[in-house]
C-alpha cells in the first residue's frame, strides 16, 4: 500500500514536471518542434473577435485563451488535425483561414479557376475575331 502511494506520488511529480517544463519562461513551448507547430497552427486560426487577425497576432483575451488551448493540446500530443477539428467543431469553418475543400467551400476554392478559364475564353474569342478583321493599313476594295 505504502509503495503504491509512493509510486502514485512519483508519477504525479513526473507528470506535473512534464507539464510545467513544457513551457519556458516566455510562455513558449520548450520543444522547438512543438513551438513551430504552435506558430503554424495559430497563424491559420482566425480570432473571432477581430476576424481579420489570426489568434497568433491578436491581443484579445479570446485569442489568448485559444492559444493556451492549442499549447495544451500540443503538449498532450494531439495532432494538428485534432486541434483544427476541435476549433471547427466549436467555431465553424470560419475559424480557419485555410478552409478545407468540401462541397460547401467549393465556390471559394473554385471561383479563381472559373474566372481564369472565363478570362482565357474571352481573350481567345477576341483574338480570333480580330484575326478575321481586315488590317487597317490595307486599302479596302472600292476606296480611292
Amino acid at each position: 500500500m505504502k509503495l503504491l502511494v509512493l509510486l502514485f506520488g512519483f508519477a504525479l511529480c513526473v507528470l506535473t514536471a512534464a507539464l510545467t517544463h513544457a513551457l519556458d519562461a516566455n510562455g513558449q513551448l520548450e520543444d522547438p518542434v512543438l513551438q513551430t507547430r504552435f506558430e503554424r497552427i495559430t497563424k491559420d486560426l482566425r480570432c473571432l473577435v477581430c476576424q481579420n487577425e489570426s489568434i497568433a497576432d491578436s491581443n484579445v483575451e479570446l485569442a489568448g485563451d485559444l492559444r493556451r488551448q492549442v499549447q495544451e493540446m500540443l503538449i498532450a500530443g494531439k495532432s494538428d488535425e485534432a486541434i483544427f477539428d476541435f476549433m471547427t467543431e466549436r467555431y465553424g469553418d470560419f475559424v480557419r483561414f485555410n478552409p478545407p475543400l468540401e462541397p460547401k467551400t467549393l465556390l471559394i476554392w473554385g471561383a479563381p479557376f472559373a474566372v481564369l478559364v472565363l478570362g482565357i475564353g474571352i481573350i481567345f474569342r477576341v483574338v480570333r475575331r480580330r484575326s478575321r478583321m481586315p488590317l487597317d493599313d490595307e486599302p479596302t476594295p472600292g476606296s480611292p
Partner: protein, 179 residues
C-alpha cells in the same frame, strides 16, 4: 441580343450580391454556430452568488432551457438586462447565466444592483466552458431542447421582440417534439 443581355445579367447578379453584403440589418460579426443540432456541452461550474453551490446544465436535463452568456465588461449585456428580467418574470423556461471573462465579485455586484433574472448563474473561471460552447463574445443566448441539444443561438442583445419572434415559437415546438 446576347451582347445586351449578358452585361445586364452580370449587373443584376452583382446588385443582388451587394444587396446581401451591404444590408445594414445584417450583423457581419454574427457567425452561424456549428453546434446547432448538437448536444449542449457540459456546464459544471459554481454559482456566482455562492462559490460552494454547483451549477450544472445536467440538472436541467429533459427541460427546455436557455443559456445566456454575459460579463460585466460587456455594454450590450447591460442593454439586454431589462429584457432578461422581463423574460424571467414570464417563468417560461429556466435561464442559466454563464459569466465569461470576468471577476466573481463584479458579477455578483451587478446582479445585486440590477436584479437577477437567472435560475442559476455559472461562473466560468478559465473560459473553458465558453470555448466549448463556441462563445466568441457577449451577449450570446443559446436555446437547448428536451433532448439536451442546442437548437438555436442568438448573438446580440436580447429584446422582448426577439424573445417573441425567435424564442417562444422554438420553445413551443421543442416542447411539442419532446412531449
Amino acid at each position: 441580343m446576347w451582347k445586351f443581355l449578358l452585361p445586364f445579367a452580370a449587373f443584376i447578379a452583382l446588385a443582388v450580391l451587394f444587396a446581401f453584403g451591404l444590408n445594414p440589418k445584417r450583423d457581419i460579426h454574427a457567425l452561424p454556430s456549428p453546434l446547432i443540432g448538437k448536444a449542449a456541452p457540459a456546464i459544471a461550474l459554481t454559482d456566482v452568488m455562492d462559490p460552494d453551490r454547483p451549477v450544472t446544465n445536467s440538472a436541467f436535463k429533459g427541460q427546455v432551457y436557455i443559456v445566456n452568456v454575459w460579463g460585466t465588461w460587456c455594454e450590450a449585456c447591460r442593454q439586454e438586462h431589462g429584457a432578461l428580467l422581463e423574460i424571467a418574470q414570464q417563468h417560461e423556461v429556466p435561464i442559466i447565466g454563464l459569466v465569461y471573462m470576468d471577476q466573481r465579485d463584479k458579477a455578483k455586484q451587478w446582479l445585486e444592483t440590477l436584479g437577477n433574472p437567472y435560475t442559476a448563474v455559472a461562473f466560468d473561471t478559465d473560459n473553458r466552458t465558453a470555448i466549448n460552447w463556441g462563445v466568441y463574445g457577449a451577449p450570446e443566448t443559446f436555446l437547448v431542447d428536451t433532448q439536451g441539444r442546442i437548437i438555436y443561438k442568438f448573438i446580440s442583445p436580447m429584446t422582448p421582440e426577439v424573445w417573441q419572434r425567435e424564442f417562444l415559437p422554438r420553445i413551443a415546438a421543442a416542447r411539442r417534439a419532446g412531449a
